[in-house]
Homo-oligomer: 145 residues x 2
């Protein structure tokens, strides 16, 4: 249950877009440099975010990416499930028919509680909330390896 680089990088990238929201597009190169992520790898991560409708692109010179909607309308769980796939999940949580005894399975209930706990954290926050959290602290402190 370690967080993948995919999620960490992707999250940092979309956070950059959230911080710069309203000031025109930001280029992959800019983000990659600022966050010290491989340019080409980041390209793929942003493509995922775009496919999920969280991010919008402008091609050509002076192009780049912006959030598809204001930071206050993007919840963290949307970002995460895009990058990481279903959270904490066990197959039988989504497809009860998967397992014959799903209805009163104890272990399943535990997995479910774990999943809900994580989702509650992520659903309760938007990108705007995170941007606000970082105000007051050093701008460059948006940083996780």
């Amino acid at each position: 249950m370690k967080l993948s680089s995919r999620s960490r990088y992707g999250f940092r990238a979309i956070l950059e877009l959230a911080v710069g929201y309203g000031n025109g597009p930001i280029q992959i190169k800019t983000i990659a440099d600022r966050e010290d992520i491989s340019n080409k790898y980041l390209e793929q991560l942003i493509a995922m975010l775009k496919a999920a409708g969280l991010v919008r692109s402008i091609r050509g010179p002076r192009g780049g990416y912006t959030l598809a909607k204001p930071p206050s309308e993007i919840r963290l769980d949307e970002v995460f499930s895009t990058l990481e796939g279903p959270l904490v999940a066990v197959d039988c949580l989504e497809h009860p028919s998967f397992c014959p005894k799903c209805t009163d399975c104890v272990t399943r209930r535990i997995w479910s509680e774990m999943q809900d706990a994580v989702l509650n954290v992520l659903r309760s926050k938007t990108l705007q909330d995170v941007v606000d959290m970082s105000k007051g602290t050093d701008r460059d402190a948006n940083y996780t390896i």
Copy 2:
């Protein structure tokens, strides 16, 4: 962030031991048959649980495994961190020195909240609690694929 088979199988196995606690040792073969897990693979998982001091073994014929302490004294987070490694973790949560800006890093705070959310669920429950949950439902319902 999908739960590995390691965790799912291992958890089901230790739960078998919890249910049978006080009635002598249970053999790997028995658990493997009952839970439909590969014998040899389960052997390795139980070895992890033993190395962590959660399980005790008796060798020779009529041997097998028992919990090392009563089910009420084994919290789920102990089981999980044994099987799965650090939960949800990002390296900088454990080793703040890992990242130069750890002290006031926003993303780190989010990861930390996620981790705490999961840990709180798991820390608040012991194997006994899970056994009690399953009472009343069909015995064979301790089942997750």
